[in-house]
């Protein structure tokens, strides 16, 4: 039974092998000079202007989290939509189920809204 | 219908309930109620004594009720000759000790009285239980009020003493608990369904190897309680720090639970192990108990500590009497437990009286008290003489029987045990001399008043009993005898060929015949 996974195993071997070989080649072929520019972070060719670890307003995080939550939830609707036709024998149920799911999301949205998480100021 | 034995448990409980509803300010009322309920319990136990039939060896007044049928656990209580007098002495000492502490408890009256009553419930429960689970419950529950009595109303080092007391006792009883689990398991294996009914457990057939471990676990627990030599160190601390009432109950009754446990559980449950291991316990009792306790008692500067170590010595006699495994020894052990309860209880009460007056227990603080407090000195003398085993007083009966039994077992041990009696005379009389006789060296003692009427009421009943048992022990021995004979027969029948040295069929010896 494990034999089924043999190709997967080989794929793994090839992937890691290839990476190792490439890294090794780079070491081998790269020029042996080091300058200050080499050690700087890559900023599309321009010189970095400020320190990388600046603090962001917490508002960004909140927005980002809320976005992720609602965005991911939408993803759940695609497979549902795709298999909906096959499941017509329990169609009413899964339709209501999706409505419930959306209802819960709406509750969350209202909560977030009322709590003021969506207001920028 | 509530039987006479359940009344022993229920009455103090009702007392607790009544106390809870008395407002904190009514201190005298609380005391009266508490003493009233304990006295009622005593009356009930006297009725029980009157109704107790002489002759049958099995349990009397048995009461049975289902408790946790799922586990085969029942509420089963009964009384026989072994436990009868231990119950009586409990019900007697509790009201007396409450009366003695009429003025000595300064705060938390209600808690103290409730603790004392709860203690009485626990102790009586231990003596009455005929179910191993029930026994264990009472055995542990009894610890809690004693812990509070020592820890809250005790002396300076009371917390240390209380913690030591509870940890020592718990150590033993938890290992005993494992043994109980084991017995419980064996019962379910041999009878089909588990049970903790003691009479059923007596019928278990245990191989020696099992008996050995179970016997050790039970004996360890009881040895701590008695206490035997290496496990005795909690006792002086607990005694010294406990308030008078606590010491009286501790020495008078609590220690007997150990001896009682040996008789009720170790002997009949594990007869073969008992017979085989008896020599070790006897030597421990003689050297670690009787002689060691007496020698240490001799050098104590503190009266309470001295009495505490004398308890170690006297309880050594009890263990000796139990493990020589013959009629005289066992009878002596039982009556010695009763006697020790009376005389040591009285000693602690007397020390408590003087402590209340002077707030010192050091022997060196006193001297010439006999001149100032003649009545006190007289009672003290009687109690001291009783404790050291003067013929005609109660202490003699027990020690004599034990030594007779022990003589049949081994002359060697008897010789050493007998020195314990001499040593007892030495330390007790020496203490008595230093406290009572001579000139009044300490100015503070000159103004002491003799015993008040209340204190006389406390001490006189004990004196009466001390003299009565000393002169006429027959009624007591008659009641103890059938149960002891039966016990010996059980041990003999089940000891698997291990012969007892003395056949139990020998007619009992009463001291007046010798």
């Amino acid at each position: 039974m494990l034999g089924e996974y043999l190709p997967l195993f080989f794929l793994g071997v090839i992937v890691f092998g290839l990476i190792a070989v490439m890294l090794f080649l780079v070491r081998l072929l790269q020029p042996k000079r080091r300058s200050e520019t080499d050690l700087e972070p890559y900023e599309s060719g321009t010189t970095p202007t400020s320190f990388a670890r600046t603090r962001f307003s917490v508002k960004f995080f909140i927005i980002a989290i809320i976005f992720i939550i609602f965005d991911i939830e939408v993803v759940f609707m695609y497979p549902w939509a795709v298999v909906f036709k096959e499941l017509l024998n329990i169609g009413t149920f899964i339709f209501i189920e999706m409505l419930t799911f959306l209802g819960i999301l709406v509750v969350g949205l209202i909560y977030v809204w009322k709590m003021g998480a969506l207001e920028w100021d | 219908m509530i039987g006479i034995l359940s009344l022993h448990i229920i009455l103090p409980m009702l007392g607790i309930l009544a106390l809870i509803f008395i407002p904190d300010k009514e201190k005298s009322l609380m005391k009266v109620v508490a003493i009233g309920f304990t006295l009622a319990t005593f009356v009930v136990s006297v009725v029980m004594l009157a109704k107790f039939e002489i002759g049958p060896s099995d349990m009397q007044f048995v009461e049975y009720a289902e408790w946790i049928p799922q586990w085969g656990i029942s509420y089963k209580i009964g009384v026989d000759g072994i436990s009868l007098f231990l119950i009586l002495i409990t019900t007697l000492l509790t009201p007396l000790s409450l009366l003695s502490s009429w003025n000595s408890i300064n705060e938390g009256h209600k808690g103290f009285l409730v603790s004392m009553l709860a203690l009485e419930v626990g102790i009586i429960g231990v003596f009455l239980s005929m179910d191993l689970f029930l026994f264990y419950v009472f055995w542990e529950v009894m610890l809690i009020p004693m812990y509070f009595i020592i820890g809250i109303w005790g002396g300076e080092k009371r917390i240390y003493a209380a913690v030591k007391f509870i940890i020592y006792t718990m150590f033993g009883s938890l290992l005993m608990l494992v043994a109980i689990f084991w017995l419980y398991y064996l019962s379910s294996e041999q009878f089909g369904s588990p049970t903790t009914d003691l009479l059923m457990l007596y019928k278990l057939e245990l191989p020696y190897n099992t008996q050995f471990w179970l016997f050790l676990a039970f004996t360890l627990s009881f040895a701590i309680k008695i206490p035997l030599f290496p496990f005795h160190t909690w006792l002086p601390d607990a005694h010294v720090e406990a308030p008078t009432a606590g010491s009286v109950i501790l020495a008078g009754v609590l220690l007997k639970m150990g001896g009682y446990g040996l008789l009720r559980y170790c002997l009949p449950l594990f007869p073969e192990a008992t017979v085989r291991l008896a020599p070790y316990l006897i030597s421990l009792a003689v050297f670690g108990g009787i002689i060691y306790g007496a020698l240490v008692a001799m050098v104590q500067p503190d009266m309470k500590k001295l009495i505490a170590y004398s308890s170690v010595s006297h309880m050594g006699f009890v263990v000796l009497g139990i493990f020589v495994l013959n009629q005289q020894g066992l009878q002596g052990a039982v009556i010695q437990m009763v006697n020790h309860g009376l005389s040591t209880g009285a000693l602690f009460l007397l020390v408590g009286f003087i402590y209340e007056r002077r707030h010192s227990r050091l022997i060196s603080e006193y001297g010439g008290i006999a001149k100032i407090m003649p009545f006190y000195a007289a009672t003290f003398l009687i109690v001291v003489l009783s404790s050291l085993g003067l013929p005609g007083l109660n202490g003699f009966v027990g020690e004599f029987l034990i030594l007779v039994g022990s003589f049949k077992y081994s002359i060697f041990f008897t010789t050493f045990a007998a020195t314990g009696v001499i040593l007892a005379a030495v330390y007790l009389l020496w203490m008595y001399q230093r406290v009572m006789f001579g000139k009044v060296t300490n100015e503070k003692n000159s103004g002491l008043s003799d015993l008040s009427l209340r204190e006389k009421w406390v001490i006189v009943p004990l004196i009466v009993l001390i003299v009565f048992i000393g002169i006429y022990p027959k009624p007591i021995l008659d009641r103890i005898e059938p149960s002891v004979t039966n016990l010996l027969n059980v041990v003999q029948a089940n000891s698997n060929g291990e012969k007892l040295k003395i056949s139990p069929d020998v007619t009992p010896v009463s001291p007046e015949r010798n």
């Binding site: 039974m1 494990l2 096959e86 499941l87 024998n89 329990i90 149920f93 819960i104 509750v107 209202i110 909560y111 009322k114 709590m115 | 408790w67 946790i68 049928p69 799922q70 586990w71 938390g108 689970f133 264990y136 419950v137 542990e140 529950v141 610890l143 809690i144 812990y147 509070f148 820890g151 809250i152 009371r158 917390i159 209380a162 913690v163 509870i166 940890i167 718990m170 150590f171 938890l174 290992l175 608990l177 494992v178 689990f181 084991w182 419980y184 398991y185 379910s188 588990p194």
Partner: protein, 481 residues
């Protein structure tokens, strides 16, 4: 492809969960639209718990499955669900005072408690590894927030972060284990796994099961997976700690029992030595470290570890009675521990400075009844007779002896002795030390009093007359064997 029908009975089966979820959302709305006095929220939450509990108890527990064998309604699930819901209800009653005094009384507290309870109900009643996992996640996420409830307190933050990191770690283990199990059986349904009997790949089966066990060991805090627990218990708001210590433990142990005993009955015997070791180490480490604690919450936290060790004995024994003993003990533990934490939260004061033993000095004189209750809980936790601590231990220990685990029980009993020492320290300070400072506590409010009384009563009732509950626990476990 889809071979199951959804019938109304399925929904009926999930009614308690639905009531709780709807209630949780309702509470969020109440919080948004009702300003001012928040007593309404408290009573609503309590009512929801009561309704859910009565729905749960009114259900038939014939072992009917629903939603394509995703959940199962049996007595086992019912028993532990009832424990969870009772615990939730008590926590609701206890929470208000604590939060009001810290000016943090908000509806979200109740809402999160309800969500956590839903998660636990799914863990307990789920018959599919994935449902159990989802339940666990719902529980964990709610708890992460509840632990960090005081977001302006450093302690609370630290606790929440630790809990989050290690909890996520544990979830990862669990999920990974489920994946391996799927790999070896081709299904995550416990019923199918049970009927299948032997896996296709023994290696995957072993890896899967051990990873699942590691996941649950984190949740119930078995040594060596216990590191998070003291900090989290200490940092969390005290009512939440009480809730976590009791209901979460019950739910996690129940899920573990269901997976092990129902799903993989053949493995118990083989894993016994490991369980034996985990149990012995857990109780010893928990008790020994608890000895040295000066903070009451930490002491109770380590004692919770020790109790997990006692409970593991039931798993080690691996018989029906062993599991029944665990259920009974979990029920009792609920009351002893919530009660103890209720007293701790009452005495700890607004700024949580009164958590060490010293601050309990002499409290018995001023608060005789509460001190008495605390004494009872301490004696119960230490396992004194006439309390549920004793009957529970008696149940578990006797079954272990019946199966021949004498040494494990000797270890357990010696551990109980150690625990006597530190539990009684509380009693010593309350009763035997003089009062150090005069501090006025506002009198306990009625709901908290009711909760405390319930705990006291239950500890005594289960200790003195455990009969019916023993029968109940026995019947309950027969559902998973």
């Amino acid at each position: 492809m889809i071979d199951f029908q959804i019938v109304p009975a399925d929904f009926y089966l999930l009614l308690p969960e639905m009531v709780l979820s709807v209630g949780a959302m309702l509470l969020l709305f109440l919080e948004l639209f009702l300003k001012g006095n928040k007593t309404v929220q408290q009573w609503t939450a309590f009512a929801i718990f009561v309704v859910a509990l009565s729905l749960l108890l009114s259900q038939e527990s014939s072992g009917a499955t629903g939603f394509g064998m995703m959940v199962r309604s049996d007595l086992f699930g019912q028993f532990i669900s009832a424990v969870v819901l009772i615990g939730g209800g008590l926590t609701v009653l206890l929470g208000k005072e604590y939060l009001v005094s810290r000016e943090w009384h908000r509806g979200e507290y109740y809402s999160l408690l309800l969500f956590a309870s839903v998660g636990m109900l799914f863990m307990v009643r789920g018959l599919d590894l994935l449902v159990i996992f989802l339940g666990l996640e719902l529980l964990s996420i709610s708890l992460y927030i509840l632990v960090g409830y005081f977001r302006d307190r450093l302690f609370s933050n630290e606790a929440a972060l630790k809990y989050l990191l290690l909890g996520a770690f544990a979830s990862g283990f669990l999920l990974y284990g489920i994946a391996y199990t799927y790999g070896s059986y081709g299904t995550t349904n416990l019923n199918e796994i049970r009927t299948m009997g032997s896996p296709e790949s023994m290696t995957f089966h072993w890896i899967g099961l051990s990873l699942i066990l590691v996941g649950f060991s984190f949740k119930v805090a078995l040594v060596p997976f216990h590191m998070w627990l003291p900090d989290v218990y200490q940092g969390a708001p005290t009512p939440v700690t009480g809730f976590m210590a009791t209901t979460t433990k019950a739910a996690a142990f129940a899920a573990m029992l269901r997976i092990l005993f129902y799903g993989f009955p053949a493995d118990i015997a083989e894993w016994m030595p490991l369980f034996w070791f985990l149990s012995a180490v857990t109780m010893t480490v928990g008790n020994v470290i608890a000895l040295q604690q000066s903070n009451l919450k930490r002491m109770l936290a380590y004692s919770a570890i020790a109790h997990a060790g006692y409970l593991m004995i039931g798993v080690t024994v691996g018989t029906e009675t062993g599991a029944a003993g665990m259920l009974f003990y979990l029920l009792g533990y609920l009351f002893m521990n919530i009660g103890a934490f209720a007293v701790v939260q009452y005495f700890e004061g607004k700024d949580e400075t009164r958590l060490d033993f010293e601050s309990y000095a002499g409290l018995a004189k001023k608060h005789p009844l509460i001190s008495l209750a605390m004494t009872l809980f301490m004696f119960a936790l230490a396992g004194f007779p006439l309390t549920v601590g004793f009957t529970g231990k008696f149940y578990i220990f006797t079954t272990a002896i019946n199966q021949g685990f004498v040494w494990l029980i000797v270890i357990a009993v010696l551990n109980s002795l150690i625990s006597v020492y530190y539990y009684l320290r509380v009693v010593i300070y309350m009763y035997m030390k003089p009062l150090e400072e005069e501090i006025e506590f506002s009198p306990m409010e009625l709901p908290a009093k009711v909760a405390l009384t319930v705990c006291v009563y239950a500890v005594l009732h289960l200790g003195v007359l455990p009969g019916n509950f023993i029968t109940l626990a026995r019947e309950a476990v027969s559902a998973i064997f």
